[in-house]
Amino acid sequence: MNYLEHIGKYFIMLGRVFKKPQRSKVFYEALLREIEDLGLKSLGIIMFISFFIGGVISLQTALNLESPFIPKSLIGFAAKRSIILEFAPTFCSIILAGKVGSYITSSIGSMRVTEQIDALEVMGINSLNYLVLPKIIATVFFYPFLISLGMFLGIFGGWVSGVLSGLFSGAEYIEGLQTDFNPFLLTYAMIKTLIFAFLIATVPSYHGYYVKGGSIAVGRASTQAVVWTTILIVIANYFLTQMLLT
């Protein structure tokens, strides 16, 4: 199947996904399950990675500032910018594409190969709407919180690394954080997060839903889903940056 066919099939899938749920009570139950599976269960990894990467960004910046004429507050400024602009929305989304994307593809793919999706269709249930819409809503609404937490912990990690290493003081770091604060950068990061969240929910769902074969095919589809979601995040990141920041 060529790329154009996949793109067409992906948008046809979205057309079936965005229908009014057949039973709102069942939909809310599914939504809560997805918030837990796709959001809350990702808190740990995002918190852990954000904290340490924030620390590393600050240490690297401090170690590379050799000139005494450059103020140390630049470390806080650089950490803030790189964490808000790229690390939290893009890097965390790529991590989530790996963790959540493979989970989505394998869970939907397993349902496909064990005929659970056929069972839903025979019952008269719009299986795409039932399975995929709660995932989209869960990621699109929850990931901004997750990424905001990643931003906060990344910046906090930078402060902790400075204080512990003695390479810069907490006051210098905070001064850098407060320098030239542009609220639009947060808006930009949130726009990116929403689009990446949509991709993280839909691209793996597509790969899982249309899988054919058995368990090996599901494994292969999971890998493909992670690769394609990452590629699409990177491409979308480039175009969004050009559109929103230039």
């Binding site: 057949q22 009570k25 069942v26 056929d118 069972a119 025979v122 019952m123 008269g124």
Partner: protein, 255 residues
């Protein structure tokens, strides 16, 4: 009643069904038999609308299925119960939730009424006290019974079963067969079963259709299958020594 007229279906230029016609009556258990690859599953999936036929017509109580409006299709789907080969239970949900699922989706009953109905059908398939178990905690036979309970919870007019005995020991297979037959009689359901289990053919085959290479090669009852001299049927049904001897004994007795 279900009437199938000259059904054709193929995939990527490879014809699977080649003009199969059949009629299935309410209150009767009809069996589709045939070797692996003969088109049984494609036939069944075409009946339940998972495959769209290339040619031919399927009538449900006189209404052509391809001309169903969206509302009629939705209504018709709720009249269908399906037992899949691997049970196809939602593995993240408990037995109770699996059986209750169609009720939650399509009825406005209270939680108490739904639970009462779930308990009733679970009792009917001899699966009391398993409400809170997950499918993975059940044996193959129990999973099949949950699948049957889910299939009948909406009081269907049509029940379809794809190899309901596959992977089950002979004793459990007979229990499942009997259960399907009893439910068919009790609720006057039109039941169609795909199988290559010869015990099922002998035990519950009120009507048997033999498919070979995508065509209907023979049709009859479980009594007639003993007497038939159709070579393809005889080679398939009596391929084991046990069934050959059963047939010889039957023919000797009825002479």
């Amino acid at each position: 009643m279900i009437e199938v007229k000259k059904l054709y279906k193929g995939f990527e230029g490879n014809p699977i069904l080649k003009g199969v016609s059949a009629t299935f009556h309410p209150g009767k258990t009809s069996l589709i038999i045939g070797q692996s690859g003969s088109g049984k599953t494609v036939f069944l999936k075409s009946l339940i609308g998972l495959h769209t036929p290339d040619e031919g017509a399927i009538f449900f109580n006189g209404t052509l299925s391809s001309e169903f409006t969206e509302t009629e299709k939705q209504q018709w789907r709720q009249e269908i119960g399906m037992v899949f080969q691997g049970s196809a239970l939602l593995d993240s949900q408990t037995v109770e939730d699996n059986v209750m699922f169609p009720l939650k989706m399509f009825t406005k009953q209270s939680d108490e009424a739904m639970l009462a109905r779930v308990n009733f059908v679970l009792k009917r398939v001899n699966l009391e006290n398993s409400n809170k178990k997950l499918p993975a905690e059940l044996s193959g036979g129990m999973q099949k019974r949950v699948a049957i309970a889910r299939a009948i919870v909406m009081n269907p007019k049509y029940l379809f079963c794809d190899e309901p005995n596959s992977g089950l020991d002979p004793q459990t297979a007979i229990v499942i067969d009997k259960l399907i037959q009893e439910i068919t009689d009790e609720y006057n359901i039109t039941t169609v079963i795909n199988t290559h289990d010869m015990n099922s053919v002998m035990e519950i085959g009120e009507k048997i259709i033999f498919l070979k290479d995508g065509k209907k090669a023979w049709e009859g009852t479980s009594d007639e299958i003993f007497k038939t001299d159709n070579e393809a049927v005889v080679n398939f049904v009596y391929s084991s020594n046990l069934f050959k001897k059963v047939r010889e004994a039957y023919l000797r007795e009825t002479k």
